[in-house]
């Protein structure tokens, strides 16, 4: 490829095919937008059932990390993968508090290979609160209780993250 940058305008027929006009912002039928919003709410209602299997896997992996030193790193990687998905899903389906705790656990486990006992306890604490949020059907930010749990976890992470082996 040449060192001289080239600017290419690919053929794009989408605007024309969808009924749009060049330079004129189009719009989407309000009724369709409403139907799409309603669909999120509808799917969100069944989210606690759908995320249950992931939470059960998290419990098993947290136990594995705590009890099986040989498979500890593998368990932490598994936890990190699952909470990455949950942090994207939670708030989408109306559970921002779940996303908050999943994000916290994601950051805490990212790059963590040899956790000490207190760090393992902190992982378990995250999994417990995430399970409680889903079991309790806590939508929204969870109010003062949610803020309190969040603050406690953040303080504990700050304390233990400095001691990452």
């Amino acid at each position: 490829m040449s060192d001289k940058p080239q600017l290419i305008r690919p053929r794009n027929t989408m605007l024309e095919r969808l009924g749009g006009r060049p330079g004129v912002p189009g719009k989407i039928d309000e009724a369709l937008l409403k139907k799409a919003e309603d669909r999120i709410a509808e799917v969100g209602a069944s989210y606690p059932d759908r995320v249950k299997a992931d939470l059960e896997k998290l419990v098993a992996l947290a136990n594995q990390a705590a009890t099986d030193a040989d498979r500890r790193a593998e368990a932490i990687t598994g936890i990190n993968l699952i909470v990455h998905e949950i942090r994207g899903e939670g708030a989408t389906f109306g559970y921002p508090l779940l996303t908050k705790f999943a994000s916290s656990l994601f950051k805490f486990t990212d790059g963590l290979t040899s956790p000490n006992e207190r760090q393992l306890a902190l992982i378990k604490a995250h999994v417990d609160v995430m399970t409680a949020v889903v079991k309790g059907g806590i939508k929204g930010d969870g109010g003062p209780l949610g803020a309190q749990i969040d603050q406690s976890l953040a303080m504990a992470i700050e304390k233990y993250a400095a001691h990452k082996p």
Partner: protein, 174 residues
């Protein structure tokens, strides 16, 4: 006067290995009236599909108009899929609009997606508003592509900022 879009003629390839998210996005696109939605949970399958429609892409109506893909997937990630698309030998594939879906929202990740050739980044949590904004950006404001020795993808300069020196980039229609 603004026209109302009819998405019936739109074909979207959606890839996410997390089934709840894949199902949700598919449902939203369906409610918005998108005519054809292909959902995959494995990017390798998407590569096979894109290979099979490569010739059709440049003749008449494309088989796929837009790719929306999650970033973190196993065994093939969204970034790997995007790089594969941008390096494809068919123009119908390598110029394909690509929206990267991700739970990563930090600046470095957004820049990495941009540098790999993503047209748009859609951060999770997903909302109808955010999804529609990204779709409309790709439909209404298709950015020209830049081809040079170090980059191939949509122009990373989104704003038209006046410069007081000649633009060295050579413009050519596709």
């Amino acid at each position: 006067m603004a026209s109302t879009y009819n998405f019936k003629a739109l074909s979207i390839l959606l890839i996410d290995d997390a089934k709840p998210m894949a199902d949700l996005l598919g449902s939203i696109l369906k409610e918005l009236g998108v005519g054809k939605i292909t959902v995959h949970t494995d990017a390798k399958r998407s590569m096979e599909l894109l290979d099979s429609v490569a010739t059709l892409q440049t003749q008449g109506t494309p088989a796929i108009d837009i790719v929306i893909s999650d970033w973190r997937m196993e065994p093939t990630s969204g970034i790997e899929l995007l790089k594969w698309i941008r390096n494809h030998n068919s123009d119908g594939i390598r110029f394909m609009p690509f929206i990267m879906l991700t739970a990563y929202s930090d600046h470095a990740r957004v820049m990495a997606a941009r540098d790999a050739g993503a047209n748009e980044v859609l951060a999770k949590p997903v909302s109808v508003h955010n999804l529609v904004r990204r779709l409309l950006s790709v439909i209404e404001n298709p950015r020209p592509f830049v081809a040079c020795s170090t980059y191939f993808g949509p122009d990373r300069r989104r704003k038209s900022i006046p410069i007081n020196f000649p633009d060295r980039r050579k413009t050519s229609p596709h």
